[in-house]
Amino acid sequence: MSAFFRVAWLVLRKDLTVEMRSFEIVSTSLFFAVSCVLFFAVAFVQEGRALDGASAGILWIAIAFAGTLALGRTFERERQAETLRALLLAPADRPAIYVGKLAGIVALLAVTEVVLVPLIAYLFQAGFLARPLWMLAVLVSGTLGYCAVGTLFAAMLVRARSRDVLLPILLYPITIPVIIAGVRATAALIEPQPDLEIVRFWLSLLVAYDVVFVTLALWSFEPLMTD
């Protein structure tokens, strides 16, 4: 088991080192997400007042779009010099490579979220930071669920010619429950008097989704990558 996590850590550290050299994924996904938020702000903030309930949806749309961009670029990087093959040739459990790639994408998306959350909170007067631990739990579980499915699909599509088009087509329908649960939990959290039972319900749905899809991905990664 320690070899499993050692390989996952090596892959994660390698991805973060490459990103720190190129700053490619964080800069593009951040630029895209912030632009998206600003367009929504122009449309939904009238005379200094934001449309009620819009901020939660805008946060998760920005996360989903930025995540798709990050997923595509991460695996495009592995495709260019066929380094994914070199990873798959390592004498390690192949799911460990999946876990390392997943952790890398979650980490890169977390950087985007660190900028997005206060930006949307400011532009839409949303109380995202009123209950930071709850908010953190919703963000972590939602991001993990979205990336768990996305990492598997992006790895599967790495050799497909129209992978850029196919990734969102496959990913968005399957991750609809994550987006809905994330929006509902966030919306419930930013109410002036939040009903924590509702937050807990949506959060447990997110955690259940995470468990199911991480398990499915770990189980199916090796046969999918070998064919």
Binding site: V18, A81, E82, R85, A86, P91, T226
Partner: protein, 243 residues
Amino acid sequence: MIDFDELSVQDLARHFGRRRALSHITFRCRAGSILGLLGPNGAGKSTLLAILATLLRPHAGTIHYGAFAVAGGSTGAVRGNSALRATIGMLGHDLYLYPELSARENLTFFAALHGASDPGGAADAALAHASLADRGDDSVGSFSRGMRQRVALERALIHGPRLLLLDEPFTGLDDRSVGALTARLHELRDEGRIVVLATHDLDLAEGLFDQAIFVRDGRLVETAERPQALRSLYQSVMTKGRT
């Protein structure tokens, strides 16, 4: 720990959808030999290398890595092969290196991934072998094709594999780099490794192979021991049966 002194392929087949990529491929090669895998584009050479590397599953047939067998047609062929992969090194047409990382970082990463006890030391030794010790901290993206190829070969060898699979290793190399690569391949043969090399560069490969197999349309059409006059042999084999 798996080790073997013979690679044996029996009746191997693989298809992609309805397209047959490989069919009835049978050959064997012993430790301390270089096997040439020759054939035109689309003959199935890269598919065969990918199957030998466990990157693809065979649909029929068996591969024996010594006593360890991988049988086609079952998911068992892909599961539990991590110990086997420790004995295989592969250098593809693409070099499997991260251009943003330095040569040392690339080699250290792959050494660690293969479970080396001292990845940094293994990387230093590999850089010395590639005659790139003074350029170890430069990013691979800044290297010439020949330098990258040398790093990539050492990356494939960093865990001391018994079986080395090379796909078009001479592509884009100048005469000096070709000479260095050929010398390294002889060295590997003398160390008792099994080298399987797919190439179109018949002139560069002249005199290199202990054995050559000729593949056309996914089928093995000829086998030759210590082939000489490779180009004329290739042309006669490939035109045989066509006319």
